[in-house]
Symmetry: D5
Subunit: 118 residues, 10 copies
């Protein structure tokens, strides 16, 4: 399973202001633990930073590290959310995965942490 | 009528967190009980799991079991909602069906159970 | 003017639950009472049923009966809303008409009855 | 059946040049002779004029005159093509009708007269 | 500047009910007072009528009367809102202009009067 | 396998003219003979009639008769093309099937008979 | 009627090579000579230059000069084509106007001069 | 770094009314301070003016002045927001940047100042 | 490099007729040999079969086998074309890859073998 | 003006086969030599390689080098085409630039070298 130490952060340049940051990774792939076939999807991260922001290139490498991991949608989404929350302690965070269809059904999982912005 | 025992579930991997799961089945078909002609539509399930999650492949087989059933839109939507609520006892659930048009009119039915997320 | 007795209803199969029904008629046409030219539009009905639901085929025939009627947008929208409310006494209802443009201006009229769902 | 004398024409302002004229009527409606239900579609006329062009408002009124006519797709398309060809004797003409779906099948009919432009 | 007396109204056919009327004029043009070049945009009017509704053809002629007027986006939007509010005294009104881009920047102005509907 | 006698035809109303007829059935479903899972797709028929045209309602019933048949894409497409060619002896015909994806791959099959129009 | 002397040109920078230039003016407006109401449309110019190219800003001013001219679609399209051909003597030219709908019918006119590119 | 004195303003023509102004610059470019490669994005400004409005052409020149600046997304977004807030003291302001993707991830940053409109 | 023996075929069910088969794999991924970063794209195969057709599931597994291969776009496209041509000896074949962008540039490669259909 | 020596090439991996390569750079920017304002556009290169292919990263850097150059659309398009033809001597090449609008007119320039593929 990808090591959260792959993730790096930098100091929030405007720590006294609540503002929104969004990163959308449209080329995510992991492996279905049941069938061994690849899964494809989009990972969306939205957050209001506290003292720290996740560094973009380290986020890319961390997400790429799931490439050959066998992991279910629900577990993967919660793990990414946990690793990022542990890293940054954001004021608010939303982590969403949207998966391309399998057998005529497509799925999404969405985890939200902290108090939602208005 | 499809037997709800077709549906299987697994333990929610993050039972202490409220999060959203969505499955969208875009290739649903059943039969109009009046005319005998096939109906085509999309079934959307959104829920916040409690202790259990519906297993995806069993959901697919359960939905496929409506293929040759004659049943009205309203009754079908309420039955799927009831079967899934009975199975999983989710904290919140929304079940929506969107049907392709007949005679120039297209229809949707939406059932919501529990307290809606913000 | 179309007779509201064209509309038929059936018993709500789940009267103890609040749920949403939507019918969208995309091929509606009536006649402009001023110019005699045809008007084209979409009629959207959304409602939360009480004891009764409008039967879909009768709704189609009722809407088709406006085909050669000369009637203004505002009056037509209110009449359809009144006829359906009289028929079904829904808990909540929204009736919207969206008209294709005339002379570079396109119009919509929306009537809402009862307390809106969250 | 609409009288072709509804159609009027005017002199081609550039009779020595081959050029293309297109009129697309997106709000066409007639009646299905079998079921009595309305049909909705788009009528597209493309032509290279010879000495005459069809006048736009007369074309609109001619097409509106099909509103309450019961006529099959194939016959209607050929009749409009015949009436316009008789009226204008164009160097080339294409008449196409595209119909909204009925029972899950949508149809188009296309008649071409004269030698197609490159 | 267009004379507001160009605008006419008619009696609201359902004065005892709050409902929404929308008119969208997608072919609006005026002139930039600085450069003399034409501006192109869309004017959207939404309102809940009180005793009066604006007559559609008079609205068209009023909007066409801006064709050769040099006027800034902000002033124009407020003037149209003022003229319509003066005319109809609506319960609620929203007037929005959306302008095609100039120099890589496109603009919108939105004025709202009265208490917004839910 | 659906009986081609389900298909009916009628006399071409303009047999002396070459023109194009298109029918698109967007709600086609059959069964995968390997997995038993349903396949979904679109069937497109284009043809230039000779003496006969296929009747639309009979075409719908014939296509619906594949609903519970296990048959491969290639074989199905060739069978429909053969049945229609046998029925109508068209001057030219194109039969195309477009299938929704399975396992990340979507397929189409296209059979053309006779000399293509320019 | 706009004076063709509004149009300016510059020397083709690559006169020994056949290449394509396209200018699309999406905000064209003139006036209907019958009704006095404004017409809106798009003017598309494609050409292969010979010795001269039309200067872009002069093209814009020339097209703006039709703003208050009453002129039919067919005449306008031929006039613009004639003025530009007279100005530049291009090896090949296509001039197309696409008009927004009036009374449910939208129109296009297309003039081509010289031998079309492959 | 662009000098905020590039920005000019003018008096709000309707200072007694709360209304919304939006400017969207779709052709923004700056430089990544890490790699030296250009970044491309859209800058969206929404605000409710108090006594002053930003002048459109000066906003364009100010935004163009970032063309060769090396600056991170987060810092850039906060700087533009600060400069505009300092200039106009709006009642409410939202500044959003949406960036085209880099390495399969696309980002957005959104800063909001003052109390959000309903 | 994936072994072409992963590919299996079956007998063309209609070997006496020229018809078109298309398979589109929208979830293809390999690795950039220079940077080690993943590449994502779509692989499109079109062919007119001779005696043999490629079996769909084996095609999927063959394409999945590129998942961890470092290979350039041009070489990969030619290899897949060569392997499929060797396997099936089709009458005509087109193999196209469309790649998501890298550094603001997106690429496509297209190999065609045999004589193109009309 | 960007130095063509920025462009590098590599040996065509399949020199005995005619095949198509396409690179689309959607984030191109240069400067208008008249006004000094930035121009934004897309550069599309299609070619059939002979012995050499252009290396993708060098193409990116070469195109970025136009960032602060003042140059007209027509001259720029011909220069890029000349530099690439000089570099690779392709069997066939098409170079197209599509520019975002200025003053309501958007432009494209297309240069083709060699004999077009069928």
């Amino acid at each position: 399973m990808p090591n959260p130490t792959l993730l790096e952060c930098f100091d929030n340049p405007s720590p006294n202001r609540d503002y929104l940051i969004e990163h959308v990774a449209e080329e995510f792939t992991s492996v279905c633990p049941k069938t061994g076939h690849p899964d494809f999807g989009t990972v969306t991260l939205q957050y209001i930073p506290s003292q720290l922001c996740v560094e973009l290139k380290s986020l890319k490498l961390y997400l790429q590290a799931f490439r050959n991991e066998g992991i279910f949608y629900e577990a993967l989404t919660n793990k990414i959310a946990d690793d990022l929350a542990e890293l940054m302690s954001p004021k608010w965070m939303l982590l969403r995965t949207d998966w391309t269809g399998r057998g005529g059904i497509r799925s999404s999982i969405e985890v939200e942490l902290g108090i939602a912005p208005d």
